[in-house]
Amino acid sequence: MTPSAAPRRRPRLHIAVFLAPAVIVYTAVMIVPLAETLRLSFFAGGPTHPAFAGLTNFRLLFLDDRWAPQFWNALRNNVYFFVIQMLQNPIGIALAALLALPRLRGGAFYRTAIFVPTLLSFVIVGFGWKLILSPLWGVAPTLLKLVGLGALFAPYLGRESSALTTLACISVWQYVGVPMMLCYAALISIPDEIIDAAEVDGVVGIEQFFRVKLPLIWPTIGMISILTFVGNFNAFDLVYVTQGALAGPNYSTDIFGTFLYRTFFGYQLQLGDPNMGATIATLMFLIILAGVCLYLFAVQRRISRYQF
């Protein structure tokens, strides 16, 4: 952060003018409510009878029979969802590598087409896949039979054992466009001299990709991964749209987003509880913070960055 400074004579009120709108909106709508949410997690009694409760809410969430199973279930599912979601990186990188081949025509068309699912809302994605996978309508079985895999079909979204994996795969399908686009941009911005030097040394083709290009785009991949990690901890829409707020079958697709929603707003017989909701949000905040710190201190430092 060393902006070059031309000599300034005038009073520098304009700096404040430039910064004010962003700082004010951001502070008032994001930072203050976030701090308020963190504060509420140490209270009980809702908005009408607030009473300081210390760490009671957290103890309930970790240990109490009503809360703990749901909490650990949501945490486990969220981690699992993230792990499957990471499949988007190899697929996205492979597509980007193909798109970045010199002499490939029609690249712009492929890029746009593959990016289309990323543009869609979860409502469309969820409903579309629900229809395709529906055993009643029979689109997926027909397609699977077409390629000779008819025996593989099962009601993937309706079984406890496969519902979460299916949702995670749908999410991969939707978000492959992001690593594809960013890795493509990173690949084509590698200077020609580096590629030429590799070719002079006889490093070509697949070997060139793994030994020269891939190391150069690690920083991009790292950034995509950490943003995906953050994004997954507030994933809510896809589960809500396909499985409802109860994240069925039998909570097998419950992640933090749906758990927070049910707890805060209440659902069916369960009453809403803002303090427990705030506690869940606070824990999500801590988990994300821990993940980001781990990334910044353990992973990012080992990634070499090259300036061209």
């Binding site: 902006p3 520098r12 700082v23 409510p33 949410t37 890029r111 543009l119 395709i132 911005s189 829409d237």
Partner: protein
């Protein structure tokens, strides 16, 4: 030797096309599937879901139901207003703040930058409970303004980050020449720097627009009223209400795809250039 090499190169290009075409089919199939069936009669949807709409099976009844219902136009307009107003706010406020951070040296520069960019790593949804309190307190619940404010706040961090990096690459000579010509700092920002960062602005626009248009969480919580529903929330509830009217549901979903793709095509011209020129590295 050269002929052999070229042959091998061509084989590789053909293989690349084959893989890309196959993946394009995977990416587009569910979308085309919905659009295709939205144009067929109810019987044809169930009898042959994989067939293209033909003379015997074409039936736009879904579209007439949806568009005749009235509410859909409102939802559509709401989404458009929210998305465009939020984008305008993010780009205006974000570029102003980025200009200040990139251009001037002042005591709190680094700290302000870090503070504003903190939000990249913290999803705004975690503050939902506080945001709802704030909106209830200021009587903004069930207004589009509440959504716009939230989306501006959530989009600012990434906008400030990308635009600051980008603005640092603009030469000082140009700006100093402007100063010598008597331009004020505001004029330098507006008429010299903004036009030069247009690729970065469209990159930011694409990446912030998508989650705003598609968001379900905040419309569900802050503006679930009939007058302020966005199309994403409207379509979601439509599915619940008309669960047996497949034509209408499929038509509603098809219609909600159109604007975001149009907006994307509008902004995406400079997308790759915006990303490669140092914006997201």
């Amino acid at each position: 030797m050269t002929i052999f090499k070229r042959g091998a190169g061509n084989a590789r290009i053909v293989a690349a096309h084959a893989v890309l075409i196959a993946y394009t089919c995977v990416a587009l199939f569910p979308v085309l599937f919905i659009v295709m069936n939205s144009l067929k009669s109810r019987r044809a949807i169930f009898a042959a879901p994989l067939a293209l709409p033909g003379p015997g099976t074409f039936d736009p009844v879904g579209y007439t139901t949806v568009l005749g219902g009235g509410a859909f136009g409102t939802y559509f307009a709401n989404s458009l207003i929210v998305t465009l107003a939020s984008l305008a706010g993010i780009l205006a406020f974000g570029s102003m703040a980025a200009f200040a951070l990139a251009e001037y040296r002042f005591g709190l520069n680094t700290l302000t930058g870090l503070y504003l960019m903190l939000g990249i790593m913290i999803p705004i949804r975690l503050g939902t409970i506080g945001i709802l309190e704030l909106m209830v307190g200021t009587h903004l619940v069930n207004t589009l303004f509440a959504l716009i404010l939230v989306y501006i706040a959530s989009g600012l961090p990434i906008a400030v980050f990308v635009l600051t990096e980008f603005m640092r690459t603009i030469s000082d000579d140009l700006k100093n020449a402007g100063r010598i010509d008597g331009l004020s700092e505001y004029q330098i920002y507006f008429s010299l720097v903004l036009p030069l960062v247009r690729p970065a602005l469209s990159t930011v626009a694409v990446f912030t627009m998508i989650p705003i248009w598609n968001d379900l969480w905040f419309p569900l919580i802050l503006a679930p009223g009939d007058a302020t529903k966005t199309i994403t929330l409207g379509a979601q509830q439509f599915i619940g209400q008309y669960v047996t009217d497949w034509n209408a549901v499929l038509a509603a979903l098809s219609l909600s795809v159109v604007p975001v793709i149009v907006l994307y095509l509008l902004f995406s011209k400079n997308l790759i250039r915006g990303i490669t020129s140092g914006a997201v590295k």
